[in-house]
């Protein structure tokens, strides 16, 4: 069954190590700083995004070339998204939201290629991104509104007695946001990668049974092709959902008390 293990694609391999921080002499109990294949693909993603955006917009053509047009469409897309869900004031978060969107989109799509690792199907990456979003929301909300940010947990026009129940519910609802944000991205990408690999594994296993097996393998092969197409849709969709929810949460930080 060599090569058909659907979990093997998520193996983290060490490429080189920066050494260990803390711990005893043998390094036990310390914190390993290791550059892994996951880190490599994050670096590749960021390089690809930066190179594409810098190279295509370098000409600054008034009439854009085709490649420049793609960059401009991305800009317009994210800018519209922020304006409609967080208002014009939200545009100061444009660099943040644009970076999030392009990073998630490119890592998702890169993960679909054979032999490439899907960075966003490592739980820690979506969690780190979601925590980053929530930190920005909380820090900016308190910086901008002071204690007024706490109005987020107190819906207006509610009798005081009911508030004792509603406020804990609102707080729990707020705390559940980073979890749902990260679980959704992680779950979609992990499930997609595993399902494609399982069907592709059927092709290999079936073709071991001679001619009948090879003919039968056409079915899972077709499924793999169809699923790969679907995964491209999911990759783009999840990047979009993550960013639009970021905008919605940023809107809470900018205008609390709705």
């Amino acid at each position: 069954m060599a090569g058909t293990d659907p979990i093997k694609q998520f193996d983290i391999k060490e490429i080189f190590s920066f050494g260990t921080i803390g711990g005893d002499e043998t390094g036990a109990g310390g914190f390993d700083l290791v550059f892994t294949n996951s880190s490599l693909f994050m670096v590749i993603s960021v390089t690809l995004i930066s190179a594409y955006l810098i190279l295509t917009t370098r000409g600054r053509g008034l009439v854009p070339s085709r490649l420049q047009l793609v960059s401009e469409i991305f800009y317009e897309f994210i800018a519209n998204m922020i304006r409609t869900s967080a208002g014009t004031e939200g545009m100061k978060f444009f660099p943040f939201v644009f970076s999030l969107f392009s990073f998630i989109l490119v890592t998702n799509v890169l993960g679909l290629f054979p032999y490439f690792i899907s960075v966003t199907s490592q739980l820690i990456i979506p969690v780190a991104l979601a925590l980053l979003v929530m930190s920005v929301v909380i820090i900016y909300g308190i910086y901008k509104n002071g204690f007024g940010f706490l109005k987020l947990f107190v819906p207006s026009g509610i009798p005081i007695i009911v508030l004792f129940i509603v406020v804990p519910i609102e707080i729990l609802s707020f705390l559940s946001r980073p979890l749902s944000l990260s679980l959704r991205l992680f779950g979609n990408m992990l499930a997609g990668a595993i399902v494609v690999k399982v069907f592709a594994g059927f092709v290999v296993s079936l073709s071991a049974f001679g001619l009948v097996g090879i003919i039968g393998a056409i079915l899972p092969f077709g499924m793999t092709v169809a699923l790969t197409a679907l995964e491209f849709l999911v990759a783009a969709l999840q990047a979009f959902v993550f960013t639009i929810l970021t905008c919605v949460y940023l809107n809470d930080a900018i205008h609390p008390g709705h």
């Binding site: 519910i169 609802s173 979890l179 749902s180």
Partner: protein, 128 residues
């Protein structure tokens, strides 16, 4: 085909002629930018059915998980084993329902109501 499309467009919006003043055109472009139209266009293709379902599930489950984890932690701190767990689990359920209601309201608000004109058969449609 092309001629027909042009006619339809001129019914809906006045065509931009070269004699239009620049300020007017800028104003029109700006109103388009902040208008509902763009919002709807973005959100209409937001989600497939499965994507929407997955969003609801994750909103609901995550609130319950957060409630349970906080409850267990408080119980461990005050050594009152089931009390905080029960209370916060119930609050988590409530928060999960609240999340789902909000997400649904968001999706509903983004979905445009059908135009009343589209509900009545118009002669123009018979040509197609």
């Amino acid at each position: 085909m092309a001629g027909l499309n042009n006619n339809k467009q001129s019914d809906n919006e006045t065509p931009i002629s070269e004699t239009d003043s620049l300020a007017e055109r800028i104003a029109r472009a700006k109103s388009k930018r902040v208008g509902q139209e763009a919002a709807q266009r973005i959100r209409r293709n937001e989600m497939t059915g499965a994507g929407r379902a997955f969003r609801m599930v994750s909103e609901f489950i995550s609130a319950i998980i957060v409630g349970a984890v906080i409850g267990l932690t408080l119980d461990a701190v005050f050594s009152t084993r089931p009390i905080f767990l029960i209370v916060l689990l119930l609050l988590g359920f409530a928060a999960g329902v609240l999340n789902v209601v909000r997400a649904t309201a968001q999706i509903n608000a983004a979905t445009p109501l059908p135009d009343p004109k589209d509900l009545v058969p118009v002669d123009k449609d018979d040509e197609d």
